[in-house]
Amino acid sequence: MAVKDYLRERYFPHMWCPGCGHGTILNSLIRAIEDLGLDKSEIVMTSGIGCSARISGYVDFHSLHTLHGRALAFATGVKLSRPELKVIVPMGDGDALAIGGNHFIHAARRNIDITAVVMNNRIYGMTGGQFSPLSGAGVKATTAPYKTIDSNFDVVELAKAAGATFVARSTAYHAQEATGYLKKAIEHKGFSVVEILSQCPTHYGRKNKEGDAVSMLELHKTNTAKLGSKALENNPELIARGVFLDVDRPEYCQEYDKIIEQASKG
């Protein structure tokens, strides 16, 4: 199928700014779903609030646009009540890890079979450019006119520590690589996390003098390196891309099925 067969064109044009990385990530995600040959009716896309969250309205799946930070909690209800569905949860950085941080770690802890996609542009875009828990120190934002003093979460380390069983990172620049990781994540049985660095030229780029979308995309290339690469070995300051974790652990819905079996015996 063509990419547009997965989109609700009725709802276009989308609301993302020119140069935003989110559209590229949507493309990566749709290509992953297409490659896996999934039926559109077996996919539920659940999102929260923010620029990233609008993604769920644009796709022709069952789509659930929920509350700020709560997408994973809604998704948990969808998945546990109907485990045969594929549940994909795209979230922004503030959505996933500030207001939604508790839901994020607990979904990971349960290892429930949901794919979380953190579209990380290091800023609250929809509200006009406030810093997020993934901005890190030394960043300018509308609520940090003197630069941030807050440290950032490392999504990969946090997801691993919390119990996720598949963890990967890519960028909007590396769209094909991202598609590959998303495919693996969706196929993985358990809680999978894919962090995809995105660019927000409108707010982050402008405030922090990173230039336009093209130069920000260039930074995705020059600031990152593949896990296990020479480049990363030579410069540990680079952000690593790759699959950081891919392990098997009992999945929540499958474990609950065992509870049902046990309880039904009386």
């Binding site: 539920v44 209800g77 039904s264």
Partner: protein, 382 residues
């Protein structure tokens, strides 16, 4: 006659009612004094293939039941004051997106952590206006275990009928009290199942286009109709819109579908009202004391009657006005600082004849408490 007689807590009666109504999914978080509802459902649900999940917090449990309702299941959560506060955001979401769900709030003293192990009826107004924005809501209550059972069944039925969250306002005293419950046989009480769309595959389904009767047939997530659900104002496809006409019509629909059906939603009981000179209006465990006093005084020839409200929201104004028409005085008996009192005063023709018999110190209001106030009122010549 039921062969299944149990001697149980009110919270368990609620569980039995929920199971009878067909609850399939429960998400919750431990909180006094509602925890027994979660505990019992964690045992009972998987026995019948249902799902129970203890979530990371109150907010998440409210969100999880909404997700599970969208896949076509009857869902419920239970909580108390602080948890009820936390759930308000997602209750508003369920109002806006029209997702059937039942929320039991076993009331304890508040505000804040308040009085966790003691009774209160202080969340009446929160049940109505806890979440932001104009909306309508259904809130039910009961004063004994047989009624808790049937009102819980009603809560599920109304949630499915009107595609709305329904609040079950129980309280600590009734939730923890043990008394008899005769579980009705299958078929004795009516069960409403979800209205699902008959639109075949491939035909454009409009999840948010009300039929002439105001109802909206649903389609389960995972079925062949794929649509959008959002907490934003939305058009008939469920897609976000800020078109003033759409906003206006949706808000009217959300309130009208409940307010215009108040007669079908209203539940109440009455005791000795026909010739009553003094009318007690009460609900929940307070109503037990009101009924007890009325019955005792009737034996001595005093013309006292009780109107027991089993649905508080939408508030049954016309019913209250009608039942109070001939009364010399009306006593609202409740365990808060007059939350239903305000509604009764607004409903009746002569608000100056409406008085408050209340307690809000964590102790159950007694027949003596009510009698004392009654005598003061009578002493004034009312």
């Amino acid at each position: 006659m039921s062969k299944n007689i149990r001697f149980i807590q009110g919270n368990e009666a609620c569980v039995e009612g929920a199971l009878y109504a067909g609850v399939e999914f429960f998400a919750g978080y431990p909180i006094t004094p509602s925890t027994e509802i979660a505990e019992h459902l964690s045992q009972r649900l998987p026995q019948r293939g249902g799902k129970f999940i203890q979530m990371e917090d109150e907010i998440a449990s409210m969100c999880a039941i909404i997700g599970a309702s969208l896949t076509g299941h009857k869902v419920m959560t239970a909580t108390s004051g602080p948890g009820f506060s936390l759930k308000q955001e997602a209750i508003g979401y369920a109002c806006m997106a029209e997702i059937p769900c039942v929320i039991a709030n076993v009331q304890r003293g508040g505000p804040s952590t308040g009085n966790p192990t003691h009774v209160s009826q202080g969340d009446v107004n929160q049940a109505r206006w806890g979440t932001h924005g104009d909306h309508s809501i259904i809130a039910l209550t009961a004063s004994n275990h047989q009624d808790i059972f049937s009102i819980t069944v009603d809560a599920f039925n109304l949630a499915e009928t009107y595609r709305t969250p329904v609040i079950l306002l129980l309280d600590e005293a009734i939730g923890h009290l043990r008394e008899k419950l005769a579980i009705p046989e299958e078929g004795e009480l009516a069960i409403v199942d979800r209205l699902r769309t008959s639109q075949p595959k491939g035909v454009d389904y409009h999840p948010y286009l009300p039929r002439e009767d105001g109802r909206l047939p649903m389609s389960d997530f995972g079925g062949h109709h794929r649509y959008n659900v959002t907490g934003l104002f939305h058009d008939m496809w469920g897609f976000p819109s800020n078109n003033p006409k759409i906003v206006n019509e949706l808000l009217r629909h959300l309130t009208d579908k409940i307010d215009a059906n108040i007669n079908s939603i209203t539940r109440y009981k009455e005791y000795f009202l026909d010739d009553a000179e003094y009318v007690f209006i009460s609900y929940g465990s307070s109503a037990r004391s009101a009924i007890h006093l009325a019955r005792n005084r009737r034996n001595k020839g005093e013309k006292i009657g009780v109107l027991e409200l089993q649905s508080i929201w939408p508030f049954p104004r016309d019913l209250v006005r009608e039942k109070c028409e001939k009364a010399k005085a009306v006593l609202v008996v409740e365990m808060n600082m007059g939350q239903v009192l305000t509604q009764v005063k607004a409903a009746v023709d002569e608000p100056s004849r409406v008085f408050l018999a209340n307690r809000f110190d964590g102790k159950l209001i007694t027949p003596t408490d009510i009698k004392r106030l009654l005598r003061v009122i009578q002493g004034r010549g009312v």
